[in-house]
């Protein structure tokens, strides 16, 4: 119950911000942070809970974005349906890729996910209807009432999607599904011997993870009024989705949230003041430091502090 109250509170906060703040920059920045919350949460379902590292976030994210863009161009589909379609297609990609590669050891799955990004990017570079290498311009429809600004509307939408993603992760984590995934992560052989259908569970996690990443990508074309392959399938999404949970904490659904807020804010700060390269350097160093010294992430460190004194 506590969770739902907090979640509703967060969403209301976003709506309040939308109603009162006038500077559009807050919503641009906020949208990006919330988008990374969804990506990190999605990543953690397979990477954190089951222990299978995915380098291919851009493939699922990009497929979601392009699905939305193409459906908008072809049928002027409303945003809500674009998101649903993105979830279905990216989920299907997760299902297929998972079925093919999750029988293998974790490292092979990881390398195969890199291949996915290359394949997806190549596909869309060569598809002229979707804009090819040069990209596609899109004209935004007017924002839905009561929103005045389309960007603000997308911000509130992403806040809602973030809450939904975290709720899904939380449900999986605390249910028998989560226990099975954790058993797989701790000892896949023992899990299988204990009756856990390891392949089915892994494919399930990969499907849900892929679907949520697609959802994160779907509003992107409308957000930018533009879509093109190089920036859509950018490595930064892979880095953000992976580093956020590993730094925030992989065992709990709040870990990716903390990590995403921290890294996304850092990214916006450093990229604007110094350079994108230094930002990646900082993230890389943080990732290595945390993985070595603080394997349970920020959440793990917080738990070690004796909060209660008596």
């Amino acid at each position: 119950m506590k969770f739902w109250i907090s979640a509703a509170g967060v969403f209301l906060l976003a709506v309040l911000a939308a109603a009162t703040l006038k500077n559009e920059y807050y919503f641009f920045a906020g949208y990006t942070v919330l988008m990374f919350v969804v990506l990190a949460t999605a990543w953690n379902i397979l990477g954190g809970y089951a222990g299978y590292v995915n380098f291919g976030t851009p493939a699922f994210f990009g497929l979601g974005a392009y699905t939305a863009a193409v459906l908008f161009k072809a049928f002027a589909l409303p945003l809500a349906l674009q998101i649903v379609a993105a979830a279905v297609l990216s989920g299907a990609l997760g299902f297929a890729a998972g079925l093919l590669t999750l029988r293998l050891r974790g490292i092979f799955f990881a390398i195969a996910t890199i291949a996915l990004v290359v394949i997806m990017e190549t596909l869309f570079i060569n598809w002229r209807y979707a804009g090819g290498a040069t990209g596609l311009q899109l004209l935004r429809p007017p924002p839905i009432w009561p929103f005045q600004s389309y960007t603000t509307m997308l911000f509130v939408l992403m806040a809602g999607l973030a809450v939904m993603a975290v709720a899904i992760a939380r449900y999986i984590e605390t249910s028998w599904l989560g226990r099975g995934l954790r058993a797989i992560r701790d000892s896949e052989e023992a899990a299988e011997a204990s009756g856990v259908p390891t392949l089915k569970l892994k494919v399930f996690a990969c499907t849900v993870s892929g679907a949520l990443m697609g959802v994160a990508g779907a509003p992107m074309p409308m957000y930018l009024s533009f879509i093109e392959p190089a920036s859509t399938f950018n490595l930064n999404y892979a880095i953000g989705a992976l580093a956020s949970p590993m730094i925030g904490g992989t065992a709990h659904y709040l870990g990716p949230v903390i990590g995403a807020i921290l890294l996304s804010s850092l990214q916006q700060l450093v990229t604007v003041t110094i350079s994108n390269e230094v930002n990646v350097l900082v993230v890389g160093v943080m990732l290595v430091v945390f993985v070595v010294a603080a394997p349970d992430g920020i959440l793990g460190l917080l738990r070690r502090i004796p909060w209660k004194r008596s």
């Binding site: 974790g106 490292i107 390398i111 195969a112 394949i119 992560r185 701790d186 390269e277 290595v288 993985v291």
Partner: protein, 291 residues
């Protein structure tokens, strides 16, 4: 586009030269990942780092191949240090090492790539030597000399390493530790030190491989991304831990890429490695000569 035997023959010749080179850049990974089971996704990044070190030394007047050889001892020590760190931080602690190990090397690769961008910029870098810029002519075919030189060095390197692994005591100890660590421990040898030595050798070899990389063509910091596909494709296709398989796998990749390059253009070439990797993983994950 008409089919021409000459074109195909030329593609195959190039493929063989290229393939041997691919085998040489992958053989370090064959040891570190194939034999030692280290999830070394930073292998291509270290390769590119080696290329840049060669670039720096070449700028001081050294021939690139000499520079590569000179770099081998310091890279060997670097490899030993990296393995020691990896062992203490991950392998010792046991559980959960898989995820964290992969994430660790991913972070290292990022740091190296960005470090190179910050140090050298994103532009391509090249080296100069007597054999770069000239070409051999065979009838209508023109084969750049640098390819032949790289091919020669690659063959020597791989032969030396394969002999080392099969003839010397340490080489065989490395193969033994890959198969049965317990038995080795019972015989009084320290598996960790053997693996550390092996990782050092794999890294040292990569220094010379990196030199060949910049001889064959210009390098840029983001090159590690396309080479991750190539090196893992070669190692998986060869069969984990097979030295001789690495050459065969390298040739297969080199020839496939060359044929695709000639007939479909350069934009498709990187996809060949990844495609080959996925096919191997799907059909025969143990590779050609897997143990």
């Amino acid at each position: 586009m008409e089919f021409s035997f000459e074109l195909l023959f030329e593609a195959v010749v190039f493929g063989i030269l290229l393939g041997c080179f691919y085998a040489a850049v992958s053989i370090g990974l064959s040891v570190s990942f194939g034999l030692l089971d280290v999830p070394h996704v930073a292998h291509p990044a270290i390769l590119v780092f080696g290329s840049y070190c060669t670039f720096v030394l070449a700028g001081l007047g050294l021939d690139p191949i000499v520079a590569g050889v000179v770099l081998m001892p310091p890279f060997f020590l670097l490899g030993m240090a990296v393995y020691r760190f990896y062992y203490e931080a991950f392998e010792r602690r046991g559980s959960d090492a898989g995820v964290r190990g992969i994430a660790f090397f991913f972070g290292v690769a990022l740091i190296i790539e960005v470090g190179l961008i910050l140090g050298f910029g994103v532009d391509q870098r090249t080296v100069e030597a007597a054999y770069i810029g000239k070409a051999f002519s065979f009838g209508d075919m023109r084969i750049p000399m640098r390819f032949v030189v790289a091919f020669g060095v690659a063959l020597v390197l791989m032969t030396a390493l394969t002999l080392y692994m099969s003839k010397t005591f340490i080489g065989r100890a490395i193969k033994a530790v890959a198969q049965d660590e317990q038995a080795l421990r019972l015989m009084g040898a320290n598996p960790m030190r053997i693996k550390q030595w092996a990782f050092g050798i794999a890294t040292g070899v990569s220094a010379l491989a990196g030199a060949m990389l910049i001889i064959i063509g210009p390098v840029e910091p983001a090159m590690d991304r396309v080479y991750i596909g190539r090196t893992f494709a070669v190692v998986v296709l060869a069969g984990l831990g097979s030295m001789t398989g690495t050459l065969a796998a390298g040739l297969i990749l080199g020839i496939s890429e060359s044929i695709v390059l000639m007939h479909f253009g350069a934009s498709w070439a990187p996809a060949v490695a990844f495609g080959l990797l996925l096919v191997v993983l799907g059909i025969r994950p143990q590779g050609l000569f897997g143990r």
